[in-house]
Symmetry: C2
Subunit: 138 residues, 2 copies
DNA sequence: ATTTTTTTTGCAACGAAGTTGCGTTTATGT
DNA sequence: ACATAAACGCAACTTCGTTGCAAAAAAAAT
């Protein structure tokens, strides 16, 4: 695990530091997505708020994680499992938010269906978020 | 227009006040969705921030407007055109965010396709947001 | 292994965004 | 017109996110 984490950081041209190790470890060991405040709690505020912001920003830019839009103004972040590179994300899978346990999950096997837009509109990226009750809470 | 606005407010059991009139008018005369700050600007800050928050909250609860999820932590609100009632929204249409002009649009004619979720997951509501270039900006 | 250079971190200060309590004002129903 | 109920504006406060800068840590060079 330790080695894996360092390898991931290095292969993404990120210098390996305590904070980045810890936060990446959280993502790897957690099934769902994490919000900024989730991370602050799970690290027991061992790192400064600013460091967490900057780390997430760095991970995002390197294509290590992606954001999940929500209707309640709280960005969630999740690991990219596809071949995402810096700047070009390719996570075209559906996201699920459980109203029971609150967890946000990447449904990696469920791809977003293509749609026909009105004449004149050009799509660059499509997001699909499903709210409901998850497997575990049923 | 004036009469229409009052009718809408009354039929939704909202007492008609200056702020609510003005904000509802904005939604009716605007093609796209509005954020909180959009409203503050377009009303020339004539109403207190708190009043705008409470008005949007009231409109939401009555099923007059709905929110549109975004990945950048900025809630947009748009009029419900379907038969939404208090608590039960039914806006199952696609939303479009233009990266050029920044406007957020309800594609009322474009319905969200149904999807097959993994076994055990139950959907209550599905959101679909498309990013790209809109009709006008092309 | 040391030193130099570069990057990251923590702190402080700041600004924006959102919430709450409360007294005053405004709307509604009789 | 009056009583009651709802909404408003203001102030205070919390939470969230950003920026500049000096200290610390990591990476690169020697
Ligand atoms: Mn995902
Ligand atoms: Mn809509
Ligand atoms: Zn659940
Ligand atoms: Zn546009």
């Amino acid at each position: 695990m330790e080695a894996q984490i360092d390898t991931i950081l290095k292969s993404n041209h990120l210098s390996v530091t305590g904070g980045r190790r810890k936060i990446l470890e959280l993502f790897l060991s957690n099934p769902g997505a994490l919000s900024h405040s989730d991370i602050e709690k799970k690290t027991e505020e061992k790192f400064d708020r600013v460091t967490v912001y900057r780390t997430l920003q760095a991970f995002l830019e390197k294509g290590l994680i992606h954001t999940i839009p929500t209707a309640d103004n709280s960005i969630r972040y999740a690991l990219c499992k596809d071949n995402c590179s810096a700047g070009h994300h390719q996570d075209n899978h559906v996201h699920f938010i459980c109203s029971q346990c609150g967890s946000t999950l990447c449904l990696d096997e469920t791809t977003i269906p293509s749609i026909r837009l009105p004449k004149g509109f050009v799509a660059a990226r499509v997001e699909m978020v499903v709210n409901g009750v998850c497997k575990n809470c049923k």
